[in-house]
Symmetry: C2
Subunit: 154 residues, 2 copies
């Protein structure tokens, strides 16, 4: 039985998304965000750009009317794989006090179904190497840990 209700994020959700991101980051990650500062131009302009991009989608997951999770899905059209589109997940977070109830799995299954409905041929994501629990979670959901993920901060 699905427990979550998943809907597109609206501007009023910025505070929630920041709070979920800060609470859900990999250990040791420095946070420069402040959920209380959602009205700041940094976030408002970012939300404008996301809203203008039909391939950049943010979702909020609600449980009994309460916001308990979020994720971003980018639809990336490619040429290889006979013009394969990839759906990329980023910023997948479940509120700390709601973990361990299967909500994360439900959110990812929803994302996979969403990706299929858009015609994507692959779902991909990266997960910090210091989150072995998250790696087992994605492998249980059928993902192949086939790649190394490289990041360069500018």
């Amino acid at each position: 039985m699905p427990q979550l209700s998943i809907r597109p994020a609206i501007r009023d959700d910025i505070t929630t998304i920041l709070a979920l991101s800060i609470g859900g980051n990999a250990p040791g990650r420095t946070n420069i965000d402040d959920a209380e500062d959602a009205q700041n131009d940094d976030y408002q302009r970012a939300f404008d750009l996301i809203e203008q991009d039909p391939n950049n989608l943010f979702f909020i997951a609600e449980l009994a009317g309460e916001k308990v999770g979020c994720m971003q899905i980018n639809l990336l059209q490619g040429l290889a794989g006979r013009g394969r589109m990839r759906a990329q997940l980023e910023g997948v977070h479940i509120r700390a006090d709601h973990r361990g109830k299967g909500l994360g799995g439900e959110m990812i299954e929803w994302a996979i179904a969403f990706a299929k409905s858009k015609g994507a041929g692959m779902v991909q994501l990266t997960s910090s190497k210091n989150r072995p629990d998250a790696h087992r979670f994605y492998e249980r959901l059928g993902f192949d840990r086939s790649h190394e993920g490289f990041k360069l901060s500018l």
Copy 2:
């Protein structure tokens, strides 16, 4: 001294991009692409979608007028990191007979500068676990191999 000239891909480059992708894939990867079939709707429609998306950019690298490399850069606007934009590299390929001359490094340095010029705060990519040579290459360029890359084919 830069050797490469890098420019946006045009529709006539589809054959080149497919040939570079097929030649540059990780060992064992099954190819369903055919560079001779660039006129096929699969590729033409994909190119239409890429052209319509200002955040999805394909580039061709030329050496003395010859096409020797390609890469895709997706600009991914986020909310976390004070509205950080990520530039994601995908399908980075140098023609087999032109490897080992520093062209790959030059192409990635160009991509990093391009990402900066767009205001991105991070460059990211994944590389197949069976390409240790590529991993050393990206680490030499300053990338941090901090993440596991998960893929699920649909």
